[in-house]
Symmetry: C2
Subunit: 424 residues, 2 copies
């Protein structure tokens, strides 16, 4: 058995093939590419998502991995040659993107996991347990709410039957779309519990770049609260209806948007608030809207503060609706408490980075990730690489090749350590 300990000095530490990894990121990013940019659009379960899935599956096949597809379309590829009873060390992320997304968000975690496994198999390392890499359906939630849908279902957090009936804006269901693109699999849900889970992801924020640090050891994920508001007012003529007679849902939506912005600034710290969706009906220049649909995304690392923000938000909505004489229906699209990762895994990440000579800091994730679902069932943590200008969910999203390679090498080290550790 090869010595897995870099500090032994007996062998050069194993390294991933950074060029192959970057090349695969580029090849996958070409599917659904947004012309004139380096960004791409592969919303979950669309034709482009299918094309992306098929490409990554081809690479997994070429490597001879055991591939399973489960009932929510998650695809897990495991190193062959192990007893089925031995829980793998799992990594993974997602390959769906937002409508104007980048080629790193999610994709990096999946392709780096594949790269780690290819590196280990090429080196013919003899491991006590297999490594596995997966991608999880609809992590972005950009087409079907809630986000992190595939990993949520994998860990038993949402019944499969319920998940399959979720529909997009056009009324198309998760189940129907999975079947249409050929990814309605039969592997059991909930899925098998891994020995441990570690996910490599771009930071999607500005902190690492600001501080000039190369990697993050993610020890927690902030809590997420998504609410959809449907505000019904009275459509009428924009010229002939005196202001005193108006019941304008657009004005109420605007007041809510301004309120949650000011709430986040007032709370300070880790509190963020966003109204990403605002849709007027009928959306015509000379018609007071009859209906406005909007979403409010609140996040905080501190659950009690997040709850306080939610309470203020809902109280404001009620007051604003009453003052205007409109009705509001609130629907929770997603609600995840903040998540603490496993300190032992986070320490392994810090140690591996230090041994490779990379600067690293403990940090908290502002975004939700598949790893937070796995934290419910096995020891879990995450590795972050910097995002240039802190930008993500945008076609200009970019991470330097050197940072990608550093993150993948640390992922390699940590997966090997986890395979050798009983984590008892």
């Amino acid at each position: 058995m090869t010595d897995l300990s870099p500090e032994s000095g007996s062998v050069q530490p194993l390294r991933v093939n950074g060029e192959r990894l970057i090349s695969r990121l580029d090849e996958l990013g070409a599917i659904g590419a947004i012309e004139g940019t380096i960004g791409c659009a592969r919303l979950a379960l669309t034709d482009d998502d299918k094309a992306g899935r098929d490409l990554v599956r081809t690479w997994m096949d070429e490597l001879g991995l055991d591939i399973t597809v489960d009932g929510i379309g998650n695809v897990i590829a495991t190193m062959p040659g192990f007893d089925h009873g031995i829980a793998p060390v799992m990594t993974g992320s997602h390959i769906d993107t937002v409508a104007t997304g980048g080629r790193y968000d999610g994709n990096l975690g999946v392709l780096a996991g594949l790269e780690v496994i290819e590196t280990v198999m090429t080196a013919r390392l003899d491991l006590p347990r297999p490594l596995a890499v997966g991608w999880f359906t609809d992590e972005e939630g950009a087409r079907f709410a809630p986000d992190m849908l595939g990993s949520l279902v994998y860990v038993g957090g949402l019944a499969l039957e319920e998940a399959l009936t979720i529909t997009d804006r056009d009324g198309l269901s998760v189940g129907g779309e999975l079947e249409r693109i050929g990814y309605l699999g039969s592997a059991p849900i909930p899925g098998a519990v891994p020995h441990a889970f570690v996910e490599l992801h771009i930071e999607q924020g500005p902190i690492l770049e600001d501080e000039g640090i190369q990697l993050g050891a993610v020890e927690a994920v902030q809590g997420i609260s998504w609410t959809e508001l449907t505000i019904i007012g009275q459509s009428c003529h924009a010229g002939t209806t005196p202001m005193r007679l108006r019941r304008d849902p657009g004005v109420v939506a605007a007041r809510i948007n301004v309120f949650v912005r000011e709430l986040a600034e007032r709370f300070g710290g880790a509190q963020v608030a966003t109204c990403g969706v605002v849709s007027h009906v009928p959306n015509l220049v000379n018609v007071v809207p009859s209906k406005v649909t909007m979403t409010v995304d609140l996040r905080n690392t501190d659950d009690a503060t997040l709850e306080a923000a939610e309470a203020e938000f809902h109280a404001f909505v009620a007051d604003a609706a009453a003052a205007e004489g409109v009705t509001v229906t609130a629907r929770s699209l997603a609600r995840f408490a903040s998540v603490e990762f496993d300190d032992r895994v986070a320490e392994m990440i810090e140690a591996a980075a230090a041994e490779r000579g990379h600067s690293i800091r403990r940090m908290c994730s502002g975004a939700g990730h598949d790893a937070q679902m796995f934290a419910r069932i096995c020891p879990t943590a995450m590795i972050f690489t910097p995002s240039v200008n802190g930008i993500s969910h945008n076609v200009t999203e970019y991470t330097e090749p050197a940072d990608i390679e550093a993150g993948a090498n640390v992922l390699l080290d940590v997966m090997l350590r986890l395979a050798a550790s009983d984590l008892s």
Copy 2:
């Protein structure tokens, strides 16, 4: 020649056939009907608009009227048997609707005009000049801006070539769509100057109903200012981007919406303000928008006050954009000064209503109408009928049959008086 003067006592005053008029309103309203409502959707130059046009044209044909279609798709039907050099007394309005519109707005004016002509022709009255009824393309502006497009072009307020190149949100042009539906005509633009113009229209507001008055003699139309704002910010991840780094065009749009509402309340009087369109891009729950398009509709009967409102609005937009670090492009979609109608025509309307025993008041129109374009070239005024609950641009728009008939009879009387008057 029949005595046209109701007060002569020698004949019963002529009356329109109210049942036939209501029945035609219903038949036209069935085209583009919105299921489960009495409303309809016939956006300008769509297939449904074509079907509506074809139906009304059939009725005009059956009556033997001389029909012309001009280069912007306006259709004018004139009583036959007169020298071409004799200017007609014209009435008319529009048959396009907003996306969730009613069956009275515009349609009443066209079909009541047809009813007046049919009544006069059936009675074989010998008139000194012909009566004519027209409908004017895209009065609503719900598909192509500016509104009142057809009548604006008819009176020479906008070059035909320019009007034909105006596009809708899908990039389809007025010219292309006119050709597609078979209404790109050859009658000259600008059109012939009528002897006078009078338009019957629903009030689309609550004043007549509130005051229990049956008809309005419209003496003016308030000024209209439509602005489209395109606000460009920085799309980014809703979870990972600290509030201090945000450049959110949605928040700026919301501040503008709240500001113009408060501006209209502060100005009071006839000032109204509406943000009908607010469109976020990419409009996803977890993405700070990159771009927001919105419209601001400001109206006032007093031009100086409207200009003051516009100035405050533009100053606020500049400040809000600078504070958030976004860029804003403003484009004027329509700008019409307030319009004074011809006092002699308004007096004829008052007199005719009084003689028929209908209560009437002088009033100002909050909405724009085709008649205001004709006011540029000939003596013009309007007759209003009440709108139940003041509602219009809404599927529940309704006007009582008795009010429709009263309005049509006054239109009849006024058109006959105008035909007999030299208005010198």
